[in-house]
Amino acid sequence: MKKLFKSFALIAISLSSVLVATNTVHAATPAEDTEALRGYFQKTLGSKANLDEFINGTYALNEDARNQWQEIEEFPPYEIDLEKGADLWAKKFKNGKSFASCFGDDISGTRGKYPYHDETMDTIVTLEGDINKCLTDNGEKPYKWKKGKIAAVSAHIAYAGRGGKIDVQPKTEKALAWYNKGKNFFYAKRGQLNLSCADCHVYNANKKVRAEPLSPALGHPSHFPVFRSKWGELGTLHRRYGGCNKNIRAKPFKAQSDQYKSLEYFQAVMSNGLELNGPGARK
């Protein structure tokens, strides 16, 4: 009897998932979206789709590039920035305090807290946002958003948080609205070239634009800030977003704009369960 009930429940579950797949009116929950995206990569990339590896971007899918990259990681190009970040972290503000007064002394869990939805302010709080808030709260000048000091401090915190898991759960109506805003941004075509993020990083992941293989969208936020050889320095996630928007001849939004914050929030939810491994190195 119990067994019968079990198989009944199973049938009901598989039936409902078929219903979900065919019912276009149904507004998908974040968990369903994540499941669908993972399923899509598994279906299209087959045995290559070792999803836990996607935090390594295109290197998860291409062995030659991966070997080169692993050699680079032996003497990581972001090492100097980590030192710079540690110095900035330890440096006293004019009022005698330092970053630890905002983030605490143990920052091993700090990276994993971001991004999150602040219910009272109804906004998405990012790590970079809180780094600059800490500065201004203490009477210091904020850093520029996309590179330099902010990326160095962000890298310092990311490094301490390596090995944690991405866990971003929109729970309230307001949080869900931010999630959906980011989702719409991700799937909407824009720019003169009329391309969406999904066109490249979902439907054509592992294909090549010219010589450049496209990374899958899962895992995008795991390893930022990133040292990009093309930049010759560290850059934040929002800097990269701006670059991809420019490439399709769309006007980029400002780093830490509501658009990019919602996009970061959506991408983080998609990447739930994956390991945090910042800072990263990329071509």
């Binding site: 090549k208 634009v209 010219r210």
Partner: protein, 122 residues
């Protein structure tokens, strides 16, 4: 008899001459459109078709998002259909990833014309 034969040959050779000349001018015009079209198609700021397509004599390291651009006359016997595919690929596939080169003003009408000539020659 001889005379009429002469007239016929004359008429024939005039015709051939005329035809040849005519043929040659069309060819020259097409040739330069094909050449210019190639430049525009390969220019990264214009067609940048190599980003997504292999083109036989187009250059190294093509992308592979779209199909290789080969045997185009067989696939697009009608040049106008090819022009529509390049000008606004959404007319063939609403969800396409290929940019609408004409509709979004990435190429001018003249450039679109020339790129079509070039692609049709492949």
């Amino acid at each position: 008899m001889r005379k009429s034969f002469r007239v016929i040959t004359l008429a024939l050779s005039t015709l051939t001459l005329f035809g040849l000349v005519n043929f040659a001018t069309v060819n020259a015009g097409e040739m330069s459109a094909v050449k210019e079209g190639k430049k525009i198609a390969l220019n990264r700021k214009k067609g940048n078709c190599l980003a997504c397509h292999l083109i036989p004599d187009g250059g190294e390291q093509p992308g592979n998002i779209g199909p290789p651009l080969i045997a185009m006359k067989a696939r697009f016997p009608d040049k106008e259909v090819l022009k529509a595919q390049i000008g606004d690929p959404r007319s063939m596939n609403p969800n396409t990833i290929m940019p609408p080169f004409g509709a979004h003003g990435i190429l001018t009408a003249d450039e679109l014309e020339k790129v079509t000539e070039y692609i049709h020659s492949l």
